[in-house]
């Protein structure tokens, strides 16, 4: 506590910094020397100002670490839907919609997977998987390009196809999550899809999410039961409770309808063209 008594008086004399007159003299003197007008800088023993300036002008030694690591490679997974769907008209379904990425701020491998299956009754279902390279092109948008593989199975034929994918994903003004995407199938058909969703927080943890998806084809494709024009539309509403941001059970309603000529094709095949489903599920993120 009393170390001030031990302080060598010589050190007190070194405190020119707080003495305006001493410094003014020093400044004048320094100006003549064309050096810094300020107090002599602190240096480590046995080194000169010139050495310190040269050190600053050069890169630090290779063996030294970076001061920070600002481009982390991360893994993100979002299982937006993992749910059971039930309706009056059709058999119960199990469905999922998930995506994720691995990458840093500049480059990402982005994958998307979705599917629906009816485990009871006639076993049918469909899945698709996209493997994409994604790059940020604006503060809120990613450009994505890659491949999509789809397959469907059921009492009739099972089929699959591969498409080239070019899309955008991001946040629009007014905070809509949008995914406009183009697909060029192996048959040369050009398809388009727009997915939009919006989060309405009712409380800090209870959120209502309207979501919609619309598909469009530019050519008829009898094998896949698609006609040129709008094919189908979904309108969905999910109410989730975020026990944690990463873990949120939900309930919701899905309304699915076929559109235009695509609806007519289904009708002629004896299939229903729309359905209202009650859904229960869980949203997971990692």
């Amino acid at each position: 506590m009393n170390n001030q008594l031990l302080m060598p008086p010589a050190l007190v004399g070194a405190l020119l910094f707080i003495s305006p007159t001493a410094n003014a003299q020093h400044a004048q003197h320094a100006a003549q020397d064309k050096a810094s007008p300020y107090e002599a800088p602190p240096l480590i023993e046995g080194t000169t100002i010139d050495e310190a300036l040269k050190t600053a002008a050069a890169a630090p030694p290779e063996s030294w670490p970076e001061p920070i690591d600002d481009n982390l490679t991360l893994v993100f997974t979002l299982i937006e839907q993992f749910e059971f769907r039930t309706s009056d008209d059709q058999s119960d379904q199990f469905a999922w919609d998930a995506q994720g990425w691995i990458g840093n701020d500049d480059h990402k491998f982005w994958w998307k997977s979705e599917g629906v299956a009816a485990p009871d009754g006639p076993n049918d279902g469909e899945t698709e998987f996209q493997a994409l390279y994604a790059k940020p092109i604006s503060p809120f948008w990613f450009l994505q390009a890659g491949l999509r593989y789809e397959n469907t199975w059921g009492p009739g034929d099972s089929k699959n196809r591969t498409s080239l994918v070019l899309g955008l994903q991001g946040l629009s003004p007014y905070k809509f999550e949008l995914e406009p995407v183009l697909f060029l199938t192996e048959d040369g058909d050009l398809l388009a899809r727009l997915t939009a969703s919006y989060d309405i927080y009712i409380t800090q943890k209870l959120a209502l999410q309207p979501r919609s998806e619309i598909n469009l084809a530019t050519a008829d494709n009898t094998e896949w039961g698609l006609a040129s024009g709008f094919n189908d539309l979904s309108m969905e509403l999910r109410l989730r409770y975020e026990i944690r941001r990463e873990f949120a059970p939900y309930v919701g309603l899905n309304y699915l309808t076929l559109l235009g000529e695509t609806a007519n094709i289904a009708q002629q095949a004896g299939s229903s063209t729309d359905d209202l489903q009650l859904v229960f599920g869980i949203r997971l993120a990692y």
């Binding site: 300020y38 670490p65 920070i68 003004p173 905070k175």
Partner: protein
């Protein structure tokens, strides 16, 4: 590797020997002797818990740094009890959290041996606000290579200043886990600030989670830790208060910009436990003060991410120093303490009762408190937390743009005749050749400027269209409580300092970020993408900082002072090591470039720094010199 770097490498390779271990034991003994009364409180607390051998957080020991011979500091992991809960992850210095309070004396030559006993990671100590040789500054990759596990680094420097400072790790996110402490430098002469007693008030934010896990969440989920968002429920409350149409139009404006007006703190009370001298509010740490005594509180914000609003209800505070530098005393009732800032205040108890020292977080998601009272065991009422405020259009740099429609706001004004507006554009760090060595004005600087057309690229989610001076504003959520709030406009240095020439060169620096992806930087670039900023040795440099983000940022320059323009005259501008810049603000500092070497310059919000809001400042001989990239 040049001469200086070789010398630094030698400092690192010094290894602990028996002699130094003995010294360590000696200093711990001093420590024990100088413990505060609070140590007894802590012991009482320990006896009531059944937690096995672990150190209690709080009330760090005080170490007088020896005038001859080295001081030993040991960085390691110590099982610690924080807020009554045991944690294995605390990074301690000499076993304590916060680290010991170091007392030094102006003019003293100190020798501090820092040994790293962390088994798995490098460490460092940076002496925040201390003017010292660049290689002693403690920033891995800038000043030195860091201290590897098992190694000791010898810091040697002479104190050229006095006041209240602090020290902390500059490695990774170690500071989040307790690697920080107070550093007090006593004046060589009589202290102009006379007090009967003094206390360090060390504010911090503690988490029981892995800081890197939280950082990853922030990168992946926008607004991950914010539980005070606009919702339908609080829409009703807001509409009742501000009217239905106002509320809806405000919310639509923010949504249109894809911004959240409640985005005030990235990490909130949902994750943090807030501490004062290592204690929670419940532990009621007490500073003893007899009525009539002048008590000096050395308030240090050692938090990694949290701005604290500090007040003592019923007790006015006289602010006498800021960032360790004496100012003309100014009385106030509340101080917003930005991360890494320090404020010294004098308070006097008027009567024989307890008062609460209340530190509320800027986003109002939490608080910590302690007591100042004549005796132990006393307590005053703890105030209720205030409602969290929301950002306004001024925070996106659009105040004063009312009347301009959206289309006009995006284009530059037709001419420069708008009053108080300076039509200069960004100059980055290019020298103004035409005006070289022409002194710049130091008073009545432009109140606002128009942002240049540079939108800083994809790592920047907004720009302040018309950044303006905000040094006289109390800040978000302050100023409406019927009491005084300190602003930068109140700060005037106590004595005119000798280096107050007019600057001859100026650079503009934009603070930028993308909240959606949690990318931070300057001028749209992260550290890893940017070149060092070059200062010229001997110059007087002006830096205009423009905050193009929606958050407050405490910007810290190592090695040199920043003289803050706060509306006064050049002689009075306060000297700071950390300046807090409000959203949409234009803030100017003048710097005497008197310290050769490589220095760090960064946002002191730890996770912003780590995600790119960091630069090396290279103080070089001239701008024409080749520089590394």
């Amino acid at each position: 590797m040049n001469h200086i770097e070789q010398l630094i490498e030698q400092q690192v390779r010094y290894r602990a020997q028996d002699q130094t271990r003995r010294q360590f034991l000696k200093t711990t003994a001093i420590t024990a002797a100088s413990g505060l009364a609070i140590a007894r409180l802590a012991q009482a607390h320990a006896s009531t818990t059944t937690l096995s051998a672990a150190t209690l957080a709080g009330s760090p020991p005080i170490i007088d740094v020896p005038t001859s011979g080295p001081l030993q500091l040991v960085v390691g992991r110590t099982p610690t009890i924080v807020a009554g809960r045991r944690t294995e992850s605390a990074i301690t210095i000499n076993g304590s959290l916060p680290g010991p309070t170091l007392r030094m004396r102006e003019g003293q030559n100190v020798e501090i041996h820092v040994r790293n006993e962390l088994p798995d990671q490098s460490t460092s100590i940076h002496w925040h606000g201390i003017i010292l040789p660049a290689p002693m500054d403690g920033v891995p990759g800038v000043s030195f290579p860091g201290i590897a596990p098992g190694e000791t680094f010898v810091y040697r420097y002479q104190l050229r200043q006095n006041g209240t400072y602090w020290y902390h790790s500059h490695t990774g996110l170690q500071e989040q886990l307790g690697h920080f402490g107070a550093l007090i430098v006593e004046p060589a002469d009589t202290d102009p600030i006379q007090a009967d007693r003094e206390y360090v008030i060390n504010l911090s934010d503690w988490m029981f989670r892995d800081p890197y896990a939280i950082l990853k969440k922030l990168k992946k989920f926008s607004g991950y830790d914010n539980y005070q968002r606009p919702t339908l429920t609080n829409f009703i409350t807001d509409a009742k208060r501000n009217g239905f149409s106002d509320t809806i139009s405000q919310r639509l404006k923010w949504d249109a910009m894809r911004m959240d007006p409640t985005d005030i703190a990235d990490i909130t009370g949902a994750t943090y436990t807030y501490l004062l001298n290592g204690h929670t509010s419940d532990e009621n740490w007490t500073a003893i003060a007899n009525p009539g005594e002048r008590i000096r509180l050395r308030i240090i914000n050692s938090a990694t991410m949290t701005y604290f609003d500090f007040r003592i209800p019923g007790l006015p505070m006289t602010v006498v120093a800021v960032d360790g530098q004496n100012i003309k005393p100014v009385e106030t009732d509340e101080i917003r303490v930005a991360v890494a800032e320090t404020y010294d205040v004098i308070v006097t108890l008027p009567d024989d009762r307890a008062y609460t020292m209340f530190a509320e977080t800027m986003d109002r998601s939490g608080f910590t408190s302690a007591t100042i009272a004549p005796r132990e065991g006393m307590q005053a009422q703890i105030p209720a937390r205030r409602a969290r405020a929301m950002r306004t259009m001024a925070d996106v740099g659009m105040a004063g743009m009312a009347g301009m429609n959206k289309k006009n706001a995006k284009t530059k004004p037709q001419n420069g005749s708008m009053p108080g507006m300076d039509m200069k554009s960004d100059m980055k760090s290019k020298p103004m050749n035409a005006m070289k060595n022409m002194p710049l004005p130091t008073e009545n600087l432009p109140e606002s400027i128009m942002h240049s057309s540079d939108k800083h690229g994809i790592a920047t989610s907004m720009i302040a269209m018309m950044p303006r001076r905000r040094y006289a504003e109390p800040g978000l959520g302050l100023g409406n409580d019927g009491h005084r709030v300190l602003t930068y406009a109140d700060l005037r240095c106590l004595e005119t300092l000798p280096d107050r020439q007019a600057p001859t060169r100026e650079i503009d620096l934009h603070l930028t970020g993308n909240m959606e992806r949690y990318i931070w930087g300057f001028d749209g670039l992260k550290y890893s993408e940017a070149e060092p900023i070059r200062f010229v040795y001997g110059e007087r440099l002006r830096m205009n900082m423009i905050n193009d983000t929606m958050m407050d940022h405490p910007i810290h320059l190592h090695g040199m002072w920043m003289d803050l323009y706060a509306g006064g005259n050049n002689d009075d501008n306060p000297r700071k090591h950390t300046v807090s810049i409000k959203p949409g603000e234009l803030l100017t500092v003048d710097i005497s470039v008197d310290a050769p070497g490589r220095w760090a310059f960064h946002c002191h919000l730890l996770y912003h720094m780590d995600m790119g809001m960091f630069r090396t400042v290279a103080v070089v001989k001239s701008l024409d010199e080749e520089i590394f990239s």
